[in-house]
């Protein structure tokens, strides 16, 4: 207990003694994590936007004229078993004629020219929202279209495909950017701890000579790194909150345009937790590696 207190005390002393270096480190970590946070927030909103945009993806499949009722029923039964599909609604030729007459009463006279309904029977397939952007839906639509009984389809598949590509791009970009930022933060903390070790070289030598254990010497540096990461991420969280609150005030014009496209959600608490866990983990890991490397005792 006394040792633990002394160790934490040493870590805090290290931070206070190297005020300037640690202040710069906090700033840089906060800035890199802020970018990470903003990116996360944008991705989160984009996700919500694309889900909202694509949740009503529906496909209408028009059947051949000579289709039999049992073939339709079999197809509908099979489609209803599919997890990707939420609802399948059948519209017969006659129903299509009735619907047309209801929607366009002024054009009703055209239909009197036909002996039978000129409209094909069709099914309208509504997909489950949770799979709305799944590539499997596109494959399924293509598979249904290939059936002999299907004459044509009507679906805004191009949009869906574009959104999927865009989402993939954003995911890859997010991963790439996160990796770079994690590396930058780790590198900074690694070097701050290295400086801290060199700054306290004399003290470390004295500690070794009076019988301090390896862990007693290393632990304050590891804790120092964790502190840097933790407080850097707290600062990043605060800055993220302020940035997102101030953005609509200082960029009203841009914000209104964007708002027209995306209905911004409130900042999810998960982003802050992610930032803090990530910041602390980066701090712990980098300082551990740094302490391991620079506190190694040379063999005589």
């Amino acid at each position: 207990m006394n040792l633990l207190k002394a160790t934490f005390g040493n870590a805090v002393q290290n931070i206070v003694r190297n005020k300037l270096v640690n202040f710069l480190c906090f700033g840089i970590i906060a800035f890199t994590l802020l970018i990470f946070g903003i990116f996360n927030y944008i991705t989160y909103n984009l996700e919500a936007f694309t889900q909202g945009f694509s949740k009503n993806i529906k496909a209408i499949f028009y059947f051949q004229d000579d289709i039999r009722q049992d073939e339709v029923e079999l197809l509908i039964a099979r489609l209803r078993e599919n997890l990707l599909i939420k609802e399948v609604a059948f519209t017969s030729k006659n129903q299509a004629e009735v619907d047309f007459s209801r929607q366009f009463p002024e054009l009703k006279y055209i239909l009197s020219e036909f002996k039978n309904s000129p409209f094909p029977a069709s099914i309208e397939v509504e997909f489950n929202q949770e799979y709305s952007m799944d590539t499997k839906i596109i494959s399924l639509i293509e598979d249904i279209e290939k059936l002999d009984i299907v004459e044509s389809k009507q679906v805004n598949i191009d949009w869906a495909q574009k959104i999927i590509v865009f989402k993939r791009f954003i995911s890859v970009m997010g991963l790439f950017l996160s990796l770079i930022l994690i590396f930058v933060s780790s590198f900074i903390i690694f070097n701050v701890i290295k400086i801290s070790i060199f700054y306290r070289k004399d003290e470390i030598n004295v500690l070794r000579l009076v019988g301090a254990t390896d862990w007693y010497i290393k632990f304050p540096f590891v804790i120092e790194g964790a502190f840097l990461g933790f407080f850097g991420s707290l600062m990043a969280g605060g800055l993220l909150f302020i940035t997102l609150k101030l953005f609509p005030l200082y960029a009203t014009f841009v914000f209104n345009i964007v708002k027209g496209l995306i209905n911004f959600k409130t900042i999810p608490g998960g982003i802050f937790i992610k930032l803090i866990v990530l910041g602390t983990a980066i701090g712990l890991f980098s300082s551990f590696i740094s302490a391991r490397q620079f506190l190694k005792i040379p063999k005589n």
């Binding site: 207990m1 006394n2 040792l3 002394a6 003694r17 004399d202 003290e203 030598n205 004295v206 500690l207 070794r208 000579l209 009076v210 019988g211 301090a212 254990t213 390896d214 007693y216 005792i297 063999k299 005589n300």
Partner: protein, 225 residues
């Protein structure tokens, strides 16, 4: 208590810092290591607290071959030894009290015990009134006394002092040697490396004389003080 058996230390090939050193020190003994600069005094002391490893030979402390102590457990050996350096090696950003407390803090001692032991050590070296000073605000002689207080604070079995009076004038040097003698009187084994013959004459103890890494004499010199 300390036994050296045919110790060799080689830093560069065909040049020995120490060559075939064998001697033993009894518990509670006071020994001077003497010799010109570069004779191997500091190297010999460093071998005792395992700052250096011998190239050949064995060193036993309390019958334990220190070569066999794994790095992880080296702190246990160091805790049984108090070390005093010529350049004091005090931490300038800590007070006298905090400097003396270091060996006790790293052991995880309770605050009350630390307080008691630090005050005892400071009282022995006559510096209780300076406990809240930082080392840069006290004299060289006082700094060396603080270093001695730090070395004895955790009740070690052995005190190693490497030229403890190298930076001090004669009067202060005598004071430091008297202090070391007092510590030795409490049963602590003391090894002092010095090249000051005058002081060795004032304090008649066993003297190990080194020349070019070899022991050239082992006996008592001096006529008392």
């Amino acid at each position: 208590m300390i036994e050296f058996y045919h110790i060799y230390k080689q830093y560069v090939s065909d040049q020995y810092a120490l060559c075939d050193i064998s001697f033993s020190v009894q518990k509670g003994e006071f020994i001077f290591l003497t010799g010109a600069s570069g004779a191997g005094k500091t190297t010999l002391l460093k071998l005792i607290f395992k700052e250096e490893l011998p190239s050949r030979g064995q060193i036993l402390i309390d019958s334990l071959n220190i070569n066999l102590i794994p790095h992880k457990l080296l702190y246990q050996l160091r805790r049984s030894i108090g070390i005093v350096f010529q350049d004091f090696r005090l931490l300038e950003n800590r007070t006298v009290y905090e400097n003396v407390a270091i060996p006790l803090v790293v052991r995880g001692e309770k605050r009350a015990i630390i307080d008691k032991k630090v005050m005892n050590a400071l009282s022995l070296v006559g510096l209780t009134h300076r406990r809240n000073y930082v080392p840069t605000h006290i004299s060289g002689g006082e700094q060396q006394r603080v270093a001695i207080a730090r070395a004895i604070a955790a009740n070690p079995k052995i005190i190693l002092a490497d030229e403890p009076t190298g930076n001090l004038d004669t009067e202060l040097s005598i004071e430091i040697f008297r202090l070391l003698e007092r510590i030795n009187a409490n049963g602590i084994t003391v090894l002092v490396a010095t090249h000051d013959n005058h002081l060795m004459e004032l304090f008649p103890k066993r003297v190990l004389k080194l020349e070019k890494g070899r022991i050239v004499s082992d006996g008592k010199i001096g006529g008392g003080h």
